[in-house]
């Protein structure tokens, strides 16, 4: 209706003049409410949650662990395309906070499924469905009655409107969740929140900074940062290159002002000279973008010295890489990720 100021005035009028509400709500009450809801639904039962290490599932895990203690089990599926040290970091962090967490390492399974696959959509689909299968197998062993998910409000919009009480249809950033397992109920304690409200809750709950400030990371992980067929060798290369990009950006104190910074292993091979001999190796693309909400993004104007350090380190530390390029495309027309 009314643009900006008048719209707010009318909303305020409705809340306070017409409805006579008391302004006594605090973001902290979200935490109490979520914990209460989880306890009430689960009773003395058991629950599991799929932990991805992203902020949504991390916050949901902390809440559920607070509500259920030992009766919650978090399952972290490591498909082998995680960033450097990520699986270990997640495991340690949550264990340190007394959360029951199980890491399922399944890289070989995923690599096998991806043999010969070059189409990006196909890759995503394969990883998504394999992910569900691994999660299902782990969940079945545990035989939990309830499933907790870190779905937030924008996820619900994406997957269409439906009642949250409806039976078991789910959202997950790698594409759906177990359909073969029956749960008594799915609990989504963050279902009404926006991303920055989730961050607020995370801060209030005292989640470690590294978890709160993490860069967005695609569900299929590094697999979509390898153009063409995914192999173990390429995965290791892109993981190391990614680590170098991350290190150098954060060392330069640039991390906070950037949306994402990472490396892509392209399919292009190119000639180089290393030492006195010609080398023929991989080309790594560096992608660094600024954005507020990911709908649009611009390539970041990174100081040349930082780019130089990134390029030098990648070619020095990864002998198989002969060339490093910087992606200077905005979104649109390009997307942030290459695949």
């Amino acid at each position: 209706m009314v643009h900006t100021e008048n719209g707010m005035k009318m909303l305020r009028n409705f809340i306070f003049e017409v409805c006579k509400c008391q302004a006594n709500w605090r973001p902290e009450s979200l935490i109490d409410k979520a914990i209460h809801e989880i306890r009430e639904t689960v009773g003395d039962g058991t629950a599991i949650i799929g932990l991805s290490g992203g902020i949504d599932s991390s916050v949901a895990t902390f809440l559920a662990a607070k509500a259920l203690g030992e009766r919650l089990l978090a399952i972290y599926v490591d498909h082998g395309f995680m960033r450097f040290g990520e699986a270990e970091f997640v495991e340690e962090t949550f264990q340190k906070h007394n959360v029951n967490v199980v890491v399922v390492r399944a890289q070989e399974r995923f690599l096998k499924k991806l043999e010969g696959v070059i189409d990006p959509e196909e890759k995503r689909k394969i990883i998504g469905s394999e992910f569900i299968r691994v999660f299902e197998e782990a969940a079945k062993k545990i035989d939990a009655e309830y499933l907790i998910q870190g779905t937030i409000y924008p996820d619900r919009i994406e997957s269409g409107f439906r009642k949250h009480s409806d039976t078991i249809k789910t959202h997950h950033n790698v594409g759906g969740l177990p359909e073969k397992i029956e749960f008594k109920a799915i609990i989504e304690p963050l279902r009404d929140l926006y991303k920055d409200e989730v961050r607020e809750v995370a801060k209030i709950m005292g989640l470690p900074d590294e978890l709160v400030r993490r860069q967005p990371f695609p569900g299929p992980g590094l697999a979509v940062r390898i153009i063409g067929e995914v192999t173990e060798e390429k995965t290791n290369l892109v993981r190391k290159a990614d680590k170098i990009v991350t290190d150098e950006i954060e060392k330069g104190g640039l991390g906070d002002s950037l949306w994402q910074y990472f490396a892509v292993l392209t399919e292009t091979k190119s000639t180089g000279v290393k030492g006195d001999s010609r080398a023929y190796g991989y080309t790594v693309a560096v992608r660094i973008v600024e954005s507020k909400e990911a709908m649009t993004a611009g390539f970041a104007r990174i100081p040349y010295e930082v780019l130089e350090r990134i390029s030098t380190r990648i070619t020095n530390e990864l002998p198989k890489v002969t060339r490093v390029v910087y992606d200077i495309t905005h979104k649109p027309p390009a997307t942030i990720e290459w695949e």
């Binding site: 209706m1 009318m10 409705f14 809340i15 509400c21 008391q22 006594n24 409107f161 009642k163 009404d192």
Partner: protein, 194 residues
């Protein structure tokens, strides 16, 4: 202690989904529920919170559209204040025997609104206000027991309120920036900045 709360019925308005968030910014709890929630379910929720008001959001529908979302009209008699925005405004008129028609002149962009009665929701607004509009359907005739509060040149009833005595509830509604008869058109509709 039960918190005061405002429930937002979400009809799929792209911008209206910020409403709950804006309410929470005013330190009042707000929760979004699907638009097909029943009056019984609302009463059930009322056990957990102090339900002080309902907001019917906008949405990309016309009340005459076949696949327009279902709405339990008993909600209008539930006895707590209701604010209908854009599609919600038309929906209230439709279910209260007002007359909703596809607007003869569509209003997009800014329009001059004459605020006839700056009371309640419209309190503090000037006699003439610029508003941001984008709507196709228009409420042409007031529902019974409603009074008109504001209008524009081409939109006779921009805002109205219920005077019904049977209805203990206050029902307020207004055209918001969205709410017309075709979904496609709204892809380019201006944003609502509540």
């Amino acid at each position: 202690m039960k918190l005061d709360a405002i429930l937002v019925l979400d009809f799929g308005g792209q911008y209206c989904n910020l409403i709950a968030r804006r309410v929470r910014e005013h330190k009042v709890y707000s929760e979004i529920v699907p638009c097909d929630i029943t009056s019984e379910e609302i009463k059930e929720l009322n056990k957990k919170m102090n339900m002080k008001g309902l907001i019917l959001s906008g949405g990309p529908w016309s009340v005459y559209e076949k696949d327009a979302p279902k709405f339990d009209s008993k909600i209008l008699k539930i006895g707590i204040p209701i604010l209908g925005l854009c599609y919600g405004h038309q929906l209230i008129a439709y279910f209260s025997n007002g007359k909703v028609e596809p607007g003869s002149k569509r209003e997009y962009g800014t329009a001059d609104v004459i605020v006839d009665k700056p009371v309640g929701v419209l309190k503090g607004l000037g006699r003439k206000e610029k508003v941001w509009m984008s709507h196709g359907d228009t409420v042409y005739e007031l529902p019974e027991d409603y009074e008109m509060l504001a209008f524009t040149e081409s939109c006779p009833i921009l805002s109205n309120r219920s005077l019904s005595t049977q209805n203990k509830a206050d029902i307020w509604s207004s055209v918001a920036s969205r709410g017309g008869s075709h979904r496609k058109r709204h892809e380019n509709a201006p944003q609502l900045h509540l």
